[in-house]
């Protein structure tokens, strides 16, 4: 059995430790070692975005990051988006605007949308589509997802919905 590395990182605001083999991705570490199964695997080679998490402020495909690369990093996953007992406005808008059908891509989209709105609070439709182009959805055709992100942007800035 290969020896496991001991990694210390901040995950969803909390100091966290986990063990992982050198060959395990961050996606595997999150799901299999930390039991944070909200982040999903769709392709395991960086082409679908279902595994999107925010690492040191940047959205990444966690299947393309090794677990051992996370030493000292600050990572946010879908489990860390809601504030205590309230859904984040992005999550709330996804529900109100029916921006999900099967829901498997939804965590990845919410993370990508959060990263986008953190950086650009007033994106155009084109900017939203560009930033979300790394996230595949097969159910919705993206229309309601884009509208939900527009809606969340307005809500976050305090505009009437």
């Amino acid at each position: 059995m290969p020896k496991k590395a001991h990694i210390q990182a901040t995950i969803n605001g909390e100091p966290t430790e986990f063990l992982c083999e050198n060959r395990q991705s961050l996606l595997e570490a999150l799901r299999d070692e930390l039991h944070l199964t909200g982040t999903k695997e769709g392709c395991n080679n960086g082409n679908c975005g279902a595994c999107t998490v925010i690492m040191d402020g940047v959205p990444v495909n966690s299947c393309l990051v090794l677990g051992v690369e996370c030493e000292g990093a600050s990572i946010t996953t879908i489990e860390g988006i809601a504030e205590e007992n309230h859904l984040h406005p992005i999550q709330q808008c996804f529900l109100e605007d029916a921006a999900l059908q099967c829901g498997i891509c939804t965590p990845g989209f919410i993370m990508a949308a959060k990263a986008l709105l953190d950086k650009n609070p007033n994106p155009t439709e084109h900017e939203i589509r560009f930033e979300l182009a790394n996230n595949l959805c097969r159910c919705t055709g993206y229309d309601k997802i884009v509208r939900a992100v527009q809606h969340a942007a307005r809500r976050l800035v305090g505009q009437p919905s």
Binding site: M1, E21, R23, Q24, R31, H35, L36, T37, G38, T39, K40, E41, G42, C43, N44, N45, N47, C48, A50, T77, I78, E79, I81, A82, L87, Q91, L95, E96, D97, A98, L100, Q101, C102, G103, I104, C105, T106, P107, I110, E125, I128, R129, F130, L132, A133, N134, N135, L136, C137, R138, C139, T140, G141, Y142, D143, K144, I145, V146, R147, Q150
Partner: protein, 771 residues
Amino acid sequence: MPIDTRETIVDEGRLPRGRGAAAPAYKVIGTRPIRHDGADKVTGRAVYGNDLQLAGMLHGKVVRSPHAHARIKRIDTSAAEKLPGVHAVVTAADLPDLRDKMADLGEGRVNLAHLGANVLAHQKVLYRGHAVAAVAAVSPHVAEEAARLIQIEYEPLPAVTWVLDAMKPDAPLLHADVYTEDMTGHRTSDQPSNTSKHLLFEEGNIEQGFASADVVVEREFKTASVHQGYIEPHVSTALWNVDGQLTIWTSTQGAFTARQQTAELLQVPISRVKVVPCEIGGGFGGKIPVYLEPVAALLSRKSGRPVKMVMTRAEVFEGTGPTPGSFVRVKLGAQKDGRIVAAQAWLAYDAGAFPGGMIGPGCMCVFACYSVPNYRVEGFDVVLNKPKTAAYRAPGATQAAFAAEQVVDELAEKLGMDPIDLRLKNAACEGTKRVGWPAYPKIGFIETLQTAKNQPHYKTPISGKNRGRGIAAGFWFNIGLKSSASASVNPDGTVTLVEGSTDIGGTRTSVAMQLAETLGIAAEDVKPQVADTDSVGYTDVTGGSRVTFATGMAAYQCGLDIRRQMRERAATLWECEAQEVNFEDGTFRHNGESITFKQLAGRLNETGGPVQGRAAVDPEGPTNGFGVSIVDVEVDPDTGKTTVLRYTVLQDAGKAIHPSYVEGQMQGGTVQGIGWALNEEYFFDDRGRMRNASYLDYRMPTALDLPMIDTVIVEVPNPAHPYGVRGVGETPIVAPPAAVANAIYHATGVRMFELPMSPPKVWAALVKKNV
């Protein structure tokens, strides 16, 4: 504020059976409540198949054929078995003998030997990716290492991957026991063949028909294999317990069909098998057949531990069920006034490696939108060295529509007629007899066409270089089939609903809304659960656009059952007869007294105990879904790239229970159709190997490729459903490839006869035209 481009048009003059003269004023139906499973799905709490973790769980991995066609000479698993951490290895030898066994899986009878051989190859491998063996080990990585140690000796055979080639007499023969059969299963030849089915439908006299036509158009079309593309790969976990009970947690469109397929393949009684459907990350038809369930079960039986198996994305492409590639020839003849007088189609669909493809629906859909007095439709189901096909959203209809709707478009141009007008002239309506089928009941195609004609999109002229507009129509039957449900009244007036339809697109909620409407309570006061095969009555698949229709009908009948019982309770309280108690708007009334549903729910214990409603329905389909697409494109002459500028999709939904999710089906199916039209294909090399088995090169649409998809829901209520529901999920994928092709033609003057209409192909066609 973004423009709200949603629109629902109610056909005021037509009503569900049993209603009064005015359109019904629903309290819940037609509203847009938040889905009941929403909180779990936006927080990552919902448990999908791969999220399941059981104590002592092992991880399974399948070994797959690298060859498109080969005999299996020898399998040596000894080295794999010796690897530390490996607990079991299985091959087809671990399956029982399934020869000559058939099973009724709810959508026709299935040859179990073929199903079993697809799950684990028996004597031959028939496509690259065909499963041959599997291992279970302590981690996915160890399982992969062990898989590499399994030694398999193959004798490669010539392979064939194009349907017309596979039909040739000298084509490599896949099965020595497959013969050409007609529609009734009657063998039409003594020679084994790759052509497993030959269908023929004929009415009237097409020779006379074409002779009387003023304009005749005949064209040939080809389509490549495409995949459903669901983002969640297949995943199953099996536990063969020490007491002989087999439990399977799986990503499936139907727990009951998964149970039956698995039990039949393993030849164990279904009473020993329980299937727990996990939340499912997309299906579109591809998660109706079993692939991993029986293999995980065999590994669990051998190892004595639970075994989880997950497919990689490449395995999903190479080892599950894409839709048929096809060759279709369509010929239409019309008179000057636009009336179609003769229609002819010749269709060859590939079925992948085993018989049982979609040629039947293909033949029956090709002219389904039109009233045609003289027709001849001939179709062939052909096996070849590709993965066995599985259903993909209106299976077989899209290939046929790509052909027929382009010929209709060309006819319109030659006749100098507006393309919608030509379709209106020939549109199927109530009473139209169709290919191979009885006459239509009440349908909404004409209403949908008229609505399309009045759309601002259609009325706005398109202008600009290399820009064009395309119209196309699509049809899908939508099935009925069986659903069971039960519902319990809680003391606080909420109702717990137990049903068996896995929720892929929000159907928990559309079904719950129908129960809520029936009981006069809020949608939020119904708590829907999707249950396993031990906890709810038999329920057919989530597919065929049936759940809102059939499981909704079961919920409605549960509601009627509860109402009947509650009227008796009210009668007990008021000391009168149950038939004297009225129920309306959520309130029971008699002689000036009244009590709401909620209030009465609090008094059940004193009036006789719990109240539970139950239903088991088997409504007869089809519900007949018609759709129309209007699409504007721009083609870049330097690259051949087609950009979708604007898209409006219209569809008759009968009655939209939850309009947001009906819109979602229309948009999602449309975008799958756009991907099918512009980029998606299985690219095979000359050795029958798929060269683009990843999301990078199997190019599905992204958010950046598309505009908003505007939706218009037309409502011509279905008389065969209490709330007028027609299935909606599948029809949207049928029209888009033809609509986009028609748009490309009107943008460039070049008609594309092959799917996908990817940039290199469009570019080459433009160059050819301009030479």
